[in-house]
Symmetry: C2
Subunit: 149 residues, 2 copies
């Protein structure tokens, strides 16, 4: 029996990463990078843990994927990320020339679309896969944080 | 005698970093981060060495500065960088809330201005310090690379 790998399968793996971030008190965002149905990088937001604004899930996943491949381009790869990338991460994806970007929930405040950043013309974009699951995690985080203040 | 530290002094330090990049066969771009007249981070482009599109001088300098400060915000800090940041680096600077950005040469093709990215509203921007010195280094690199092909 051949296992079915689809965008939902891989986005679920990104959600698992977001859950790991949540368990560390980080804004729950996760990402995986896939090539030929194989996950070659997985990462979650670590900005608080590392005291580093550049430690977004996407940046860490790009670095790990390029390290795995031994090259600095991600053509042929797909990124699955639980929230629409910010302009920093869109800029990193631009340089990586990644083939596909799937994101779950839109970020209407700081997403690259509203901020006006540009992806590489070769990058195909899809959104909405497991959108609700991603949103639920984010809401959980922000409700918990509000109650602490 | 009190030493005079001015934007030229610090941009020269960024140029020194760019020269280090050049000596490694990297596109010669360097950056330093300064707080209260003290350099707390210096970095140069390492994208080829590390096989990592995210290893721009600015990203490495931000990570190092935040690590030094033990916090993820760079308010009160100035970055001196030899080329106008790209949208990835502008996005990282946005998150860092850095107070001042000085860049030497404009990047009319991939700079954040032409790409439409947004810096933090609290970040003041200056350009043109040691512009010619920065351009000369970049031209040196691209002429050498052209002759290799």
């Amino acid at each position: 029996m051949k296992l079915e790998y689809d965008s939902k399968y891989f986005m679920n793996k990104a959600i698992e990463e977001a859950q790991l971030a949540l368990s560390k008190g980080e804004v729950p965002i996760g990402a995986v990078v896939v090539i030929e149905n194989q996950i070659i990088a997985r990462a979650h937001n670590l900005t608080e843990t590392l005291n580093d604004v550049t430690a977004h899930a996407e940046i860490l996943a790009i670095t790990a994927a390029e390290n795995y491949l031994g090259g600095k381009f991600l053509n042929g790869c797909s990124m699955y990320v639980t929230l629409e990338p910010c302009q920093m991460c869109a800029g990193a994806l631009y340089w990586s020339r990644i083939s596909n970007l799937f994101y779950a929930a839109k970020d209407l405040k700081r997403g690259f679309t509203i901020m006006g950043s540009t992806l590489h013309p070769k990058t195909k974009v899809n959104s909405g896969v497991l959108e609700n699951e991603s949103k639920e995690l984010l809401e959980k985080f922000f409700i918990a944080r509000r109650n602490l203040n």
